[in-house]
Every structure is written in C-alpha cells, then in structure tokens.
C-alpha cells in the first residue's frame, strides 16, 4: 500500500512551489485534484521553457503536474462554487498560494472551510509570510533569493551576487510544505480536528542557509567570503574544496588531506603543513592545485586520487549523466502518457517505501478532464 493511499487533496495552488508539493503527495499515493479555472486552467500551463509544449500545455506544466486530475470550476461563479464546496466537504487536504485577501473574497478561508469540513488540512504558501512590508510583494524565486542573502554564497567574489540557477526557494518551500502537511495529518489523527499549515518561500530559503546564518549570528556579524578563485564551491570550507579545470574537462575535489593530495599531484605544499592555513590560505593553495590539475586529463587524476581514497568526481553534463548505466538500472527516469496517448520522459519520485519505487505512468490532465468522473463520484446524491 502506498503510504498516502485513500487521501483526497484539492490543489488550488499554481506555478511551482505548491504544485511540486502536490506532485510529491500524488506519487506517495494521494489522489490530487487540481481545481482550475475553465478553459485556460492553471497559469503555468502557458508558461513554457524553450517554447516546449506537450499538448495545449507546456512541458514545464506537465513536469510538475503529472499524476494529478483536473476539475474545472470558476470560483467566481456561484454554481461552480457550490460544487467546489461539496468537493471540499469530502477532501482531506486543500492547498493554495493566492495572495492575501483572495480567499477572503471567495469565502474559502480556513475558517470558512472548517464550517464545511471540520477535519480539513488547509495548506497555504506565501512569499514572505502574512505580516510586514514585504507581505504584498510578488513571491517570485529570484527576488526571494536576492533578498535572502543567498546570492553571496556561490561563485567567486569578483562576480558579485550569483543566484542559484534553479528555482531553489520554490522547490525547498514545496518540500517543507509536504513535511508540514504530513505532520498535520499526524496531528489530526490525534485531535480529530482540522489543521492550518503555513509556509513561505522566504522562510524556506532561509532554512536552506541555516548553517551560514548560524555562523553569521555567532561570529560577530562577519559576512561570508567566497574567495576570488575560479571554481570556489563553498564559502566556509578549506582547500582543496572546489572545482578544477583539467586538460579535457573539470573535476571536483571535496574535503580531504591536503598534504596527501599534494603528494598525489606532485606539487609543493610544504608551506601548508599547519592545517589552519588550509582555510586561511585557501586561495593561494587552490591556485597551486589548479596549475597542476589542468596539465592532465580528468580520468588520469580521478584514477590516481581514488586509489589513495581522495574524495573526487568528474564534472558531468546532462549527456554524460543520461548515458550512465545507473540511470536505467536505478529507474531514475519514467515515461508518462496523456489521455491522447502522447508520451513524455521525465524523472520520478525520490523516496522508496518497502523497497518499492513509486512510479506512475499518468501524465498531467487537460483542463477539466476529470469533471464528469468527479461529479459522478462525489457530487451526485
């Protein structure tokens, strides 16, 4: 039995953070129904990367919303709202990321919904929480990264702020949302009452930085220094930690015994026998290492380093990764199929239960694709 089998989730949430949480719940066995406005549907359907579409909806939408159903309803239409409320009465969980005030206007706040369904788990995602001067700002990933201090941790100091090249605030917030919703299910199991779960993109991206923030709070407010050497990978770690160019590509070196590394690479590190210099002089040390590593191919170094137990890895691109036998052997990809038979290859859920991979062939639904079935099952008396 999949762990969340039997649970009914109504997803009013749009874009990435909320729907990525809905996808995790769906893969773990919950039935997730997207409540979408008729015809156009969720805004993300038209948001494409590289103009890639699967059907009327973008590949991006399909990636985030596979394994879900769609119920089209206009929340501003009183008849539709009656239907949605009937559905809410049967649901275990509902999620939304509307800006403050929207659910008040529609009449679907947590309090409103408790009156229909006293055991509902009501999940809300905001950009910055409910209070304060930022509460009404757009909750957008790059803006949140920029405000949170995250952009000073990657790259080298002369590059200025370097954002993470993925929607990391959205994705971490989606993960925290799943944790909050699951914890709420445990709370409900004890109290029998509905539960309100709230997360924000800002708090989630701060949580990712808990180490860096704790260091800042306890070192007298000193800012992190990434150093100014190409390939810097962590502002708080000593040499050799970082990425280095080889004669034919790049390799990564994690933490390890610098003097052993020096002997493998045949470079003179006799000035750095005191471990304390590995942090303080890391720029100088990394320059010495870089000069030597670039003289030979990645495979040559990797073999030599692994033999001595040094932690290292070749830097791959998606092509290299896709050709690794483990991608297939570990079933790291799966194919989903929509109602018209169109197929798309994508990734799968990362958690295994009882040695079973949680896979699913169900693609994202068309807008309102499941209205009839849902009306038949839940809304007819």
């Amino acid at each position: 039995m999949k762990p969340l089998e039997g649970l009914l989730v109504l997803e009013f949430a749009q874009f990435l953070a909320g729907p990525s949480a809905g996808l995790k719940l769906a893969d773990m066995g919950a039935r997730v129904i997207k409540i979408e406005r008729p015809i156009k549907g969720e805004a993300c359907r038209q948001l494409s990367i590289k103009d890639l579409f699967v059907d009327e909806s973008s590949m991006l939408f399909h990636t985030i919303n596979r394994n879900k159903e769609s119920f089209a309803a206009d929340l501003k239409n009183p008849d539709d709202l009656v239907q949605v409320k009937k559905l809410i009465a049967k649901a275990d969980i509902m999620t939304h990321n509307f800006r403050p005030g929207v659910m008040e206007k529609i009449g679907l706040t947590f309090e409103d919904v408790l009156a229909i369904n006293p055991k509902i788990i009501y999940g809300v995602i905001t950009g910055y929480g409910e209070k304060g001067p930022w509460a009404k700002k757009p909750g957008q990933d790059l803006l949140i990264q920029s405000l949170s201090g995250l952009t000073w941790l990657s790259g080298k100091s002369s590059q200025g702020p370097v954002p993470f090249g993925l929607a990391v605030a959205d994705l971490m917030c989606g993960n925290h949302f799943v944790q909050g919703i699951l914890a709420a299910l445990l709370k409900r199991a004890k109290t029998g009452k509905g539960v309100l779960v709230e997360v924000s993109l800002l708090e989630s991206i701060l949580d990712v930085q808990f180490e860096a923030l704790t260091i800042f709070l306890n070192n007298g407010g000193k800012l992190a220094d990434r150093g100014n050497v190409r390939g810097s990978a962590h502002a708080f770690l000593s040499a050799p930690y970082g990425i280095y160019e080889t004669a034919d590509g790049y390799l990564a070196l994690a933490m390890g015994d610098l003097l052993l590394l020096g002997s493998i690479l045949e470079v003179d590190l006799s000035k750095y026998t005191n471990k304390k210099t590995w942090f303080r002089s890391r720029a100088a040390i990394r320059k010495i290492l870089s000069k030597q590593i670039i003289t030979k191919d990645s495979d040559y170094w990797i073999k030599a380093l692994r033999e001595k137990g040094m932690w290292c890895e070749k830097v791959s691109d998606y092509n290299d990764l896709n050709h690794q036998p483990f991608m297939k052997d570990l079933q790291l990809k799966q194919t989903v199929k929509n109602s018209e038979g169109k197929e798309m290859e994508t990734t799968r859920h990362p958690v295994k239960f009882d040695e079973t991979i949680l896979s699913s062939t169900k693609a994202a639904p068309k807008v309102g694709e499941d209205n009839e079935k849902i009306i038949e099952q839940f809304l007819k008396i």
Partner: protein, 379 residues
C-alpha cells in the same frame, strides 16, 4: 500541541543530510536521541568550517543538532549493543546513513530491528542507493552536484561549472527523508504497519532538477546554455537576472522589454520590440549598461509602482535590518546543558499559527546517557 509529540526517534546518522531530517522532526515535537560513538561522536562535531568553533565544537554541529539528546554507545561492544537494542524496542523511528551493509554487519539491519520492534519505521539515507558502479563512492555534496550536472546551471556561460555554494543535495535528501518518515508514520496510523524508507542523495539531486532534466530528455538532448552575463536561469529569457546599479545590485524577474524601455528611459532597448529568447544576451547587455547609471532605490521607485517584479539584493547584514525580515521572528536563542548559549534559525513551518521554537541547544557527547537509561532502558 506539537504534531509529533510522543514520538521517539533513534538517530544513528552523522554529518548533514540525516541529522537535518531529524532536526525537523525534533522541531515538530519528536524526541530525538542521537546514538554516538564514545570519544569522538558524530564526525560533524569536529568538522570545522570557517575556523568558527563554538564551545569546543563546530558551528555546523550546533546548527544541525540542537533540540536533540545524545547517547554515547559503541555498537561494537556487546554490552552497549544490548543497551541500544533495548532502546530500539521503544523507538517509533530508527534512522542511519551508514554505507550499505554496515548495519547488517552490526546486526541492526531493518530485518534485525523489525524482529524486536515489528512496527518500526526504519529510514536510511545513502549517497547513491544500491548500484555496483557506485557502491564505493563517497556520498558527498559537491561530488553529487558534479555528477548530476547541477554545476552547469549557475553562473555565466564562460564561468565553467559553478557549484551551488552550500550543501544543497544534503539538504534536499534530508528534506525527502523527513517526508518519507512522516508519510510512513501516517500510514502506521491507518494500517498499524512499519516501513522501510530509503532516500539517496543521487535521487534527491535528480528530483531537484526535474524541470531541466525533463527538458533535456524531450528537446533532442540539448544541453542548458547560461547567458553570457547576468545569468539567473539557463532556460529563461531576458531580463531574468541580477544587475549592477550605481550603488548595489538589482534583481529583475520579468517585464516586457518595450515596457522596461519606457519605464527605465532606455532608448537602446527600443531596438528589441519583441522579448525573443534568442536575443536575451543582447537585451541583457543593453540593460546591464543602462542600470549602472542610477541607484538601486531609483530603479525600484520606477519599477515597483508599475508592478514589475524586482528586488534589491541584500547580504545578511542588510537583511537583518529589514522590517520584512524582523517580523518573521526567524532567529531563536538556544542554550546547551552547560549554559552555553547561541543564536540560530528556527523551523520554517507554522502549524495552527504555532511557530516551532525550542530553547534546547545541541547536546554534549553522551550528555543524556543517564537520563535515557533511567527513562527508557532500565524500566
């Protein structure tokens, strides 16, 4: 009431990924007991970063292990192993991140623990799961970032691979493990069964890139291309990026180019009537030159009223001065058993309006042996 009150978690894991998951569960109300090797303990205690040592141990350890108890025991010692097993009988959750086979050798595999505690949720975190090509590889964050090609998304086109500057894969795997444990505990309330929950850093790193990897799978295998300058996302068009201003930096997430040309009074932008993806390098270059001419405050005062998505770029010192940060009450003070206090962050989740804060700092190695013996083992 905290949602995980009354749950007991016995955690053998070390470093970041596993302990970050048990920190979340501790904040949500569970009692978390770290089992640590006498003498040395969690290796993270001595994993020094940034030369910052707090009360004799690494800042990282204190960040990840607050709100937990420590029980020092050596499972290679028969007596200690017996004691540990008595504790495991009472555990709702057992977690570890040893390499495959270590727990089997000790006699604490899932099957072993299930034999003494049939409804246990047994959770493991590994670097790569179980694959012959990967079994000897260390599960380390930067190596996973490199192997899964994450390094080609951050930075500009000519920067070479750029790592995300914190242990993002550890954090993701920890977040996924916590989800798996919570889902298994939920199922236990329904059907009264235990579970084996497994996560690897490899699967978590791929899940993190689900949008970009799916794009790669379906667009004929084209690799992501970062913009030449001001890159913030390899797959998004201009203006998406961070730009230098007269006195700082400005993040710009969207906006049609003609509208921006008008608002910013930038005539050079008018040559781009359409926001074409293929022209993004050129558009960014023009924008970058123009935005340098005025202060961040000036640009915000023009863009924000027009609903253009933008923000200033802050560092921690500046962030801490902002009202928008202060209202979150995101910093909490914790105190260790010996009175040493330090400040750190709190749990990011709010349930029924309750912030999950806890005054309990990280434990000294073996600090709670006697207490745990009295309360859970010799009873």
């Amino acid at each position: 009431m905290k949602p995980l009150e009354d749950y007991l978690i016995v955690d053998f894991s070390q470093f970041l990924s596993g302990p970050s998951a048990s920190l979340r569960l501790a904040d949500l109300g569970a009692r978390v007991i770290k089992i640590e090797k006498p003498g040395t303990g969690d290796i993270c205690r001595t994993l020094y970063t940034s030369d910052l040592i707090m009360n004799g141990e690494s800042s990282i350890f204190h960040t990840i292990n607050r709100n937990k108890e420590s029980f020092a025991a050596d499972f290679k010692n028969t007596e200690d192993l017996k004691t540990i097993k008595k504790l495991l009988i009472k555990a709702d959750v057992v977690m570890h991140n040893f390499r495959p086979d270590v727990m089997k050798r000790i006699g604490l595999s899932y099957d072993d623990v299930k034999a003494i505690n049939p409804k246990v949720v047994y959770a493991e975190i590994s670097g790569y799961g179980n694959h012959p090509d990967l079994k000897d590889k260390p599960g380390q964050d930067l190596l996973l970032q490199s192997m899964t090609a994450l390094t080609w998304l951050t930075g500009n086109q000519n920067d070479g691979p750029v790592a995300m500057g914190l242990s993002i894969v550890d954090m993701l795997a920890g977040a996924h493990l916590a989800q798996g444990i919570l889902a298994a505990l939920y199922r236990k309330t329904i059907n009264d069964s235990g579970a084996l929950v497994q996560v690897s850093m490899l699967e978590s790193a791929i899940d993190f890139q689900f949008e970009t990897i799916t794009t790669f799978f379906n667009d004929g295998g084209e690799l992501p291309v970062r913009t030449k300058s001001n890159n913030a996302h390899a797959y998004l068009g201009a203006p998406y990026g961070i730009y230098k201003t007269n006195d700082g930096f400005l993040a710009l997430a969207m906006g049609s180019v003609p509208v921006l040309a008008n608002l910013l009074k930038c005539d050079a932008l008018l040559q781009f009537p359409e926001n074409k993806f293929t022209l993004r390098d050129k558009i960014k270059k023009v924008l970058a030159t123009h935005l340098k001419t005025q202060t961040t405050t000036h640009w915000l005062s023009v863009l924000e009223p027009a609903d253009i998505w933008c923000a200033k770029v802050l560092n921690y010192q500046e962030l801490f001065e902002e009202e928008g940060f202060k209202v979150l009450n995101y910093i909490q003070k914790v105190t260790m058993g010996d009175g040493y206090g330090y400040e750190t962050t709190r749990c990011p989740i709010k349930i029924d309006g309750e912030l999950f804060i806890s005054e309990k700092g990280s434990p000294k190695l073996g600090e709670h042996n006697q207490k745990i013996l009295n309360e859970l083992i010799n009873t």
